[in-house]
Amino acid sequence: MSSAIITENLIKKFRRVTALNGLNLDVPAGAIYALVGPNGAGKTTAIKILMNILRSSSGQAEVLGLDSTRIAGPALASIGYVSENQELPEWMRAGNFLAYLRPFYPTWDRDLELELVRQFDLPLDRKLKNLSRGMRMKIALAGSLSYHPKLIVLDEPFTGLDPLVRDELIEGLLARAEEATVFISSHDLAEIESFASHIGYLESGRLKFSEELASLVERFREVELTFDAPPALPQSRPASWMQLDRSASVVRFVESRFDVEQTSAGIRKVFGEVRDMTFSPMTLRSIFLAMAKTGRGAA
């Protein structure tokens, strides 16, 4: 599978602050790639560099095979971009906004536009400045989907939206994402989990890991070990064990390279005899909390 986005050692410094510290990213074409991480991790900066809104301090980025510094003019006709903090022309009415965007895109699909207007229940006669935040995001999304972009870039699109609007946006997005690559940044893991195919975790400007969501969920397990007597916690243990904790005769940790046989063997090697072993699947939120608390990526 070819890549829709590739970055190589991307660095962005704002005076003394390093927002991106050597970002290496590879987003497969056709993926729904979620770039997640805490606030200030550098997600928005990365997206702005990909969209040629900002210039990187060093490193390279390619978007749809084009150097990101050349993403301008006609190149943007195949990229849809929606951001939580984008300034729209407030004085325009919603309908005028879509009509204004139309001639910029040779591939604009009027039927799709009308379909999105209906689906999002957009009030075309109201000025953008009078619309709610959710409605503005819907307008922005409709204005970014109606021309069948090859790449849809969404920067924190769901922040501050009520669940109903979020579901509507996701539904609208997924219905049209089959033919496109979606690159979305978020710190709301619950939504991402429901539709992302790939995930990257960014922290302090570094990509801690990047992989398919299914394999990520597959390799993380919450492990609970029950012993006959309270065991001693080992001095050395596998690097993939995170948040090791003991409570009386129960030991819990998060395994980041889960494999039933190998993990079981590793446990026996460290603790010896174990009365009971439980391996529970984890939600994305639990995985990231574990990683954030441990302060390391999924090695």
Partner: protein
Amino acid sequence: MKQILHILRKDLRHYWPEALAALAALCAYVWFQIRTWNRPLESWPGITGRYLEGATDLLLPLAWWFLVIRIIQGETSVGDRQFWVTRPYEWEKLLAAKVIFVLLTVNVPFFFMQAALLAYEGFNPIHHLPGLLWLQLFPLFLTLPVAALATVTSSLVRTVLAILAVVLYLIAGAVLSSEIPSSSFSSETDSLQAILFLATCVFVILWQYSKRRTNQSRLAIVALAAIIVLILVATPYRKLVARSYPLLQPPDTQLQFALLPPPKSSGSEDLPDRDEKVTVALPLSVSGVKEQSILKIRGVLLEIEASNGRRWDSGWTSLYQTLFSNRHRVVVSLEIPKKEYDAIKSGIVNGSLSLAMETLRDTEVQRFVAAEGEFALPGAPFCSANWGFAREIHCRAPLRDPYWLLTTDTSESTCPLGEDESRPKAGTLAHAWVGSPGSETPDFDFNPVRFFDFSAWSDEDSGGTERDPGICAGTPFTLSKPQPERRFQEELEFKQLAIDDYRTRMGRFTFGRIRR
């Protein structure tokens, strides 16, 4: 082209109130112009009307600036949140749309306004089409700097603050310039500064639209400001003056200057000091100005060495004195800082007085007689010698002031003499200059109709308050086009001079005559 028109349509729909405001300012300007034009002073509207007329002169560029700032910041280049930067805008087309918008809302109304004003005053606009088109550069030059500032600021308020900063910079520059000797006289670097200024404005606009590198663009503006200060401070003005006005020695020049003794000072009082400066007036006798030749003294440099060893020089200072062949005396006035003056005034001084001069040769002399009513002069189709109570020729011309020197023998004036007036002796010439030699391009102004007066002043120092008889219907006069011949400087050395004798005092010197 499709995208250009699309953006243009959007802007016209959104910014029509601003465009309408600019049009209203233009209409107000026209209304006040035609109301006050071509009317004698006494029939002008009241003081309020005159202030309003002045206000429209200011209102028009302000309305244009406002419009330009708004239109540029509709798709601001500053920041990283504007929606348009992630849409398939092509910067050349966006810029073209903005330029066309300005042409449509500023230049087109301005063009028709100018054509209408020309027609109103009896000039066929079709005959002056090239000049009218040339004048379209005027609003562009006027709005270009503001456009550059608008591209590097994110809001109207910030742009206004930037404009205020520029105004403060200009004031500081003027103050600095006044402190640098000879800088106000030499204009050798003016064109360089103007080119740098325009080039920076164009660069900033293009850079912002093509790259949106705001910090670099702002840096370019700051660099321009620094370079202009550097040019101001580091220019070797004296060398430039020496190059423009090479020093001549006899026999290269027939001119002879001599310092005349100061007038008697009995009963005179010192003039009050102005800005801690003392004015000295050095009377010079002049001889050797050829017939048909005119000598213009452009600048003066006074260097003094006092007996106590103290030195001072004025730097080159602009002077506007014109000498015709029949004039033999000129007074050169200079200001000396009071501190310096007090240090040297009690003793005698040695030094030199350098004069930067230009000779002109009188050409294309034509004779006329002022007619009753309206009459035509070359380059000024509508002239009148009966302009209210003024005894002068009042003309209007299309697009630019023609270049003429008017000469009249005041003894041949047909104007009635007042009770306390006597007819001057024959051969007492009076002159009036209009326009300037060289460029034939129209003068940059809002108003394409040029109004000017041939207000003739006699050459001789009458020493009193006697008024010239003036020019009335029937008065003969000549018009000529003196052409610059050469520039040079002469140095006049003086020794054992009591400078305090030349200090300007009450009742000592009268420059020119009191008229009206």
